[in-house]
Amino acid sequence: MPQATLSDSSTGGATAAATDRPTNVLIVGVGGQGVIMVSKVMAALAQGAGFEVKQSEVHGMAKRGGAVFSHVRFGPKVYSPTIPRGQADVLLALEWAEGLRWLNHLNRESGTFIADVKRIVPPFACRNRADGAPLGYSRETPREVLSRVRLGYALNASGMAEKLGNPRVANTVLLGVLSTALDFPEEDWLAVIERFVPPKTVEVNLRAFREGRAWVARHGEVGLDEEVDFSPPQGLSEPPRRPQVHIERAWCKSCDICVKMCPERCLELDEKHIARMRAPERCTGCRLCEYLCPDFAIRVLRLPRDASGEEATA
């Protein structure tokens, strides 16, 4: 459980400004969330304070919904553009599972973990077509994760941004939280944010920033919102079953719709051009063949896992 308060974190924690060692802020999220923007604000702030700054990101594939990360390092002298593992003073995650991915980069003895609990479920988490397959998203709860770090905040920044009327300012809420972990005056943060956001959104961004700071003042002791639902995604209540495809040969007219449309390519036409199962072990029981067969020649049965014969069910 994080015990440190706001004042603790601003004096004892992340900022290494007094020493020669650079301060390391790792900002992570998903393509399109504004990771690069947040890191630019961070870099501009540090540069304004007279530090040498390096900010490193890798883009290209990032736009495609992939994981995005940006290393920001500042201090009297900065060499490597990337933060060595275990040396991030702050890990700021715009998405929950991305925060978990990078947790081993955080210095867990002195670092601060800040994460939006927003879940962006990647299509890959929904790929397993097998009967009873669970969602492939991370199952760790914020409470578990916060118990593993010295100081951590898990908040629903996206929800707070929506309440402010602009979902895009979630990252500014997180900047507000970040500002409590680093030694820069609040006015400087506000000035940099004002410089970087579109003129029409200055007001809502500044409010979002203050909301973030206020959240730490309210929840800093425990590090998370009690009222937000953090339960992991639900699994299937019944045991998974085994599918079996039954083809009424006499009704098949060789249109091969089922062969072409089967996502697992389980079917083929035999030497008489009648549909048959070529790879029954790959069948997931999706019933697409059954639904698409124009002649009702296909039935898909769901058998208990241990049953073998077709007679076990109807």
């Binding site: 700054v53 290209g60 275990g86 790929r127 969602l135 991370s138 956001v197």
Partner: protein, 605 residues
């Protein structure tokens, strides 16, 4: 938040220090050097260089997207002949395309200075290989500068033009993904325009016929020797004295890793990684007890030291594949016994990282095309672009991907092999087709093979972030220009069967593809739908899935659209599907493949 302004193009007051991305710094350096003609084909991580240059005034510098890297380099060469400073940029594999021109031009040398920036991709963040451009520099016998941060990127690029003219050679500035995409402070200067030179009529120098070329080859050797001596001094080489027992020779971004993990070692930092200053290398080697080389990818410096008979440790401790990092460099020095092992790591957290590979965008028109191809059970030769993502789950519809424009000729070869158990289809994006797809299409018709070519025309170079090309009708500065017609190109090549189809109309798409595959000869299908994010993000009313009638068949999920995710409801052991309204742009393809008509427009009151 959204970004509103750019940092690169304001006029420079004294002591103007700006945070610049490596690529912006390279563009700035070229601009300050008075470059007048610049050309490139986009390619990660080099794309932003030309985009940054295009923000400088059109009266000062002509900036254009070229159709491919060879054309870009040839344009720069032409400008050099004509007496102005010329620049082109490309990713590492782009140099393979441009190599033909480079290998001759190195014999010719320059009139106006010519610099090419080549961005390598160690670690293969967004490429098909991780070749080392320094080997190309050695091969072409041209100097190769290697900056380690934005300041050096700016200065080295500017200096490269002077070098080019002084030594009568094209100059390569080698960047890497890490440098290109790291922002650090750089002190910027003013633009200095050197006087334009007249065209020099000198066929013995400029016309590479055998008699002339033989005479020029020997000059390359002399040039290389002169450059070796030149590169022994600042800013191309710098000795940082530290411990006498450990010496490290390094260049580029790996220099920063060495300084990070071994700050007290003696370091010879090379700013030019080809040709290498032999005498300085020897002197440095003799001044230290143990000599290390830390370099990314190939042992270029290390091999040179060995040729000089020097004892050196390099790739024995530091990997030859992948990108280096502070951790990897530290681990190398630990293994070499130079550094103490770091204190036993805290128990690593046993968190299984979420698999989140890049995906096609919600509404991407490529999804339906590949979904249809998959259902036709064809052999697909793929190409380079966003659509290569169709090789992975759930589309799994691409069988091969080699290099820019390979798909069509690969398909010809597959057909010629005579072993095909399925119809053979080549899929190629619009920009890739223009880049290197037209010659193989002509070849296919000329040699009369039986293949289908699908041109995925999304009217932009999408993968690299949305650059214009001759098929969009716009130039890099947003200027209107001629728009090529793919149908006309195909017909001119002799293709008899050409159809254009809208991939958002799944039924006609499937029917057209089926006819194309059944056609005997070269059939071309142009799947024409604009990219959903570039040049403008296309939005529309989101669809939704009616949970009562969804039978969880996953037919829509098989498109691989990121807007489609599982809902918390189940049906017969499978998750029902829901649509994320913040991502859905209303293309309706999922609704067209749904067997129960459960995907419907959202109610608008």
């Amino acid at each position: 938040m959204q970004e509103t302004r750019t940092e690169t193009t304001r006029a420079a007051p004294r002591e103007d220090v700006r945070p610049l991305m490596g690529n912006e710094a390279i563009a700035r350096g070229a601009w300050e050097a008075g470059v007048e003609v610049a050309s490139a084909y986009p390619g990660t991580p080099s794309t932003e260089i030309l985009e940054s240059l295009a923000r400088y005034p059109a009266e000062q510098v002509s900036v254009e997207w070229a159709i491919n890297e060879k054309v870009a380099l040839d344009i720069a060469i032409g400008a050099s002949f004509a007496g102005v400073r010329a620049f082109c940029s490309m990713k590492h594999v782009g140099l393979n395309v441009a190599a033909d021109a480079l290998m001759s031009f190195t014999y010719i040398g320059v009139n106006g200075g010519l610099v090419l920036t080549v961005c390598d991709d160690p670690g293969i963040h967004s490429s098909q290989n991780e070749q080392d451009t320094r080997l190309f520099a050695r091969f072409a016998m041209v100097p190769c500068l290697e900056p380690s941060d934005a300041q050096e990127a700016l200065e080295f690029t500017r200096l490269a033009f002077d070098l080019s003219e002084e030594f009568d050679t094209p100059v390569i500035v080698r960047s890497t993904t890490r440098l290109s995409h790291t922002r650090s402070q750089a002190r910027v200067g003013e633009r200095v325009e050197p006087p334009r030179r007249p065209f020099i009529h000198d066929p013995a120098k400029s016309v590479m016929i055998p008699a002339h070329a033989r005479a020029r080859h020997g000059r390359l050797l002399e040039r290389e020797q002169k450059l070796r001596r030149h590169f022994a001094a600042e800013p191309f080489a710098r000795v940082e004295r530290g411990r006498a027992d450990i010496g490290v020779i390094t260049a580029g971004v790996p220099y920063t890793y060495v300084k990070e993990v071994l700050p007290d070692a003696s370091v010879l930092k090379l700013g030019a990684s080809w040709p290498l200053p032999e005498r300085l290398l020897k002197e440095f080697a003799e001044s230290v007890e143990r000599l290390f080389v830390v370099e990314e990818l190939e042992p270029v410096i290390e091999d040179e030291l060995r040729k000089l008979g020097l004892a050196v440790e390099g790739k024995v401790w530091f990997p030859r594949t992948g990108e280096l990092s502070p951790e990897i460099v530290r681990d190398g020095f630990v293994a070499a016994g130079v550094l103490e092992p770091p204190p036993a790591a805290e128990e690593a957290l046993d968190i299984q990282p979420l698999v989140r590979p890049p995906v096609l965008c919600a509404g991407c028109p490529h999804m339906s095309t590949y979904n249809a191809l998959r259902s036709l059970d064809v052999r697909v030769a793929g190409d380079i672009g966003c659509y290569t993502l169709a090789a992975i789950e759930p589309l799994q519809a691409i069988d091969t991907c080699v290099s820019m424009g390979s798909s069509i000729a690969n398909a010809i070869g597959m057909a010629r092999a005579g072993t095909a158990d399925r119809p053979i289809v080549a899929t190629i994006g619009d920009s890739t087709f223009l880049h290197a797809g037209i010659p193989p299409l002509i070849d296919a018709v000329y040699n009369g093979v039986n293949i289908t070519v699908v041109i995925l025309d999304n009217a932009i170079t999408a993968m690299t972030g949305g650059q214009h090309h001759p098929g969009t009708g716009y130039g890099i500065r947003g200027n209107r220009t001629h728009k090529v017609s793919y149908e006309d190109i195909c017909r001119a090549a002799g293709v008899q069967w050409v159809r254009t189809v809208d991939p958002y109309e799944y039924g006609s798409l499937l029917k057209t593809l089926r006819e194309a595959v059944e056609y005997k000869g070269v059939a071309v299908v142009i799947a024409n739908r604009p990219c959903v994010i570039d040049p403008v993000r296309i939005t529309g009313p989101a669809l939704r899935v009616e949970q009562e009638s969804c039978i969880a068949c996953q037919a829509c999920m098989n498109l691989g659209c990121p807007a489609l995710v599982w809902s918390d409801e189940w049906h017969e052991g499978h998750h029902k599907v829901r649509i994320d309204p913040s991502l859905c742009m209303g293309c309706t393809v999922c609704a067209q493949v749904c067997p129960t008509a459960s995907i419907q427009p959202t109610q608008t009151d």
